[in-house]
Amino acid sequence: MLRRSRTPLTTILLLTVALNAFGEPEAARAQTIKGTHLSADLRFVTQRMLDLAEGDGNNFLHPNHNYKQTRFYPNAQINTSNVRRLRPAWLFQVDVRESLETTPVVVDGVMYVTTAYNHVYALDAATGEQLWHFKHRLSPVTSYCCGPNNRGVAVYEDLVFMGTLDAKLIALDSRTGKLVWETQIADPELGYSETMAPVVVEGKVLIGTSGGEYGIRGFLKAFDAKTGKLLWTFYTTPENSVGVWATKDATGKDLRRDIAKEKETLARIGDPYRWLGGPVWQTPAIDRAGRKIFMVVGNPAPPLDDSQRPGDNLYTNSLVAVDLDTGRYHCHLQYVPHDRWDMDAVSPPVLIEAPDENGQTVPAVLHAGKTGYIYIHRREDCSLIRFSEPIVPQENMWALPTPEGTRMAPGANGGVGWSPVAIHPGLGLVYALAIHQPMTFHLQSTPYPGGKLWLGGAFRVAPADEHWGALVAVDYRTGAIRWEVKTPQPLIGGALATAGGLVFFGEGNGRFNAVDAATGARLWSFQAGAGVNAPPVSYTVDGKQYVAVAAGGSAQLDFKRGNAIIAFTLVE
């Protein structure tokens, strides 16, 4: 068998001794039990490895596989012809039974997963054995609306990074799980929290913030990976957030704005940018050649009531590109100006090559919206090339919230929620997890509550028997739906496409599925016993390909909670 470790036994023994000297029995034990995959060389994540991740069929180095966030895994060992033989290789149970939204990140046979309430585990990706476990001590005051979630880590050199519910960024030693540094990103008493997986590029850790339901001022920040020192901040709500008084959304639908009244409010209260929301709560894409960061920005605060936020509310509900070196604004496109339905842009943007209106292939960026549209932009200036057919029913869009409640679909969870999409570049398809869950939007104006929940009303969900989900394949070259797989419940979690011609995704009822990437034909399914509401990944250890996913359910959609990380591989 191929042994990938380059670490001589003596080094491992030395490591063990050293660790014991530091009083880290758990880590030390882990180091002695195994050693096969603990190559000091290969576990050290270089910028070059991060850059080449797209073609890396061994590791899964980024939450969305590579800087472009295509979630297309290039190994075809598990494929349409043998996927029936996919079976669990191991199952690991984390200590926290609460929603799992984590993306496992895999480096040289070691998997890093996070849980609700910010635990981190390092596991042997071939056996599921625990190497170390880190539990972040949360401070008592945390503010997060939709579950104690965490979506995973970023890795760089010998460090593992995680954002925490109490709005900190922490760095752990990847070999021991020991805390190296931590830094307070923002004040949780004012509504800030961290749930997204950060991304590291050129020694900088990039992270946004959650808190669109708390009247925060959103941002993307860059921290020095070595020290945790803040390098720059891009505020997602600029001091002039008014914009162009757009009366239509990006697809031309009328927003029913009362511009005259808004102008009057603006004259009275000034620009609302300080409490305007605009969280960045999913991982941005990095355009290394173009030296840009592409992020999507969430809803304005308060989501339902617009009476205290005149203007377009820039750059809420937008795709925004900033300069990779300085974080300075480059371009944006706002999907839903002056939102009143919580139509965050949140599903991670993806860098693709796509034909423009003239059939010319151009660098493009794709985003799947809560609105039910998939949008394709030019990377150059953020402008829209096309948007897809609606992938879910759009009913009563954009009817204004009222005190009695106005029913509309999509509801505030989408469309497409935070779930990352996957791309199959060969087929020109994007796979999106869709939600049909109508809501009634109730309006009730209240003043800024100083860091408390601030919705400007209430959301009520239609009875469960009216909900459903779908995995939808859309041709991003035309915007047409190619096929869809309906599911009994709304889908949240994420998709993975592979060179084996497969798409993997999970359901709230515990099913984890593989379908044919070209046709949507269901090829394989596994019942995990708890909601599979996290993005799947794939990796290869000692020549053997695995697919892994977390099954912990969802607080957001109240799918059955669990605590499993499951890895699958082919049986002979």
Partner: protein
Amino acid sequence: MDRHTQRARRWFSGIAVGATLTLGDPVSAQEMRPRAAEPIPEPQLSERLAELVPTCLACHGENGVPNYAESPIVDGQHEGYLFIQLRDYKNGARKHEVMNEVVKDLSRQDLRELAAYFAARPWPRVDQPPVADENGVVERLLAEGQCRECHGADFMGDGTMPRLAGQLTAYLVSTMRAFRLKERTNNAAMGSLLDTFSDEEIEAIARYLGAL
């Protein structure tokens, strides 16, 4: 009237309003009783806490079971939530004449320590009658209000989200009503959400949560 009740009455004698009205009726023995009368293991009390805590216990209960149906269980509630409530009573965001008075002269540090102290005590077990959710009516209401999205799968809360499971039913009713009537304004979102439920629905939800 036991020693603590006397102390409580003495304590807010400066507040003119009738104590029974404000605090709710003294809890009847049938309604709830601690399952075991075990003494509570005392967290270490600083001098300052030793001075403050007895007042609290007078209403919130020596053994964690409140002496009045409308004073909530605070023992074992989440530290972050307790702190934010005490902060809100102090800055006036949450209005209640007794509690506003209680925290009036306390420092932020006092509030932090009180929150940590009460959070560290065990949640008392009060036997509130079990509720049969006929035809899943309450379950449906809880789903439509997405209550579990914030309060947790088992209504155990966390951080600044309160635990609701096993809270006194009478208090749950009174505070949900207060949210609706905008008498409790320190979380407008809860007020708006509860506006979409009827009184009967709120009572059914409170009974259900109290019995968990």
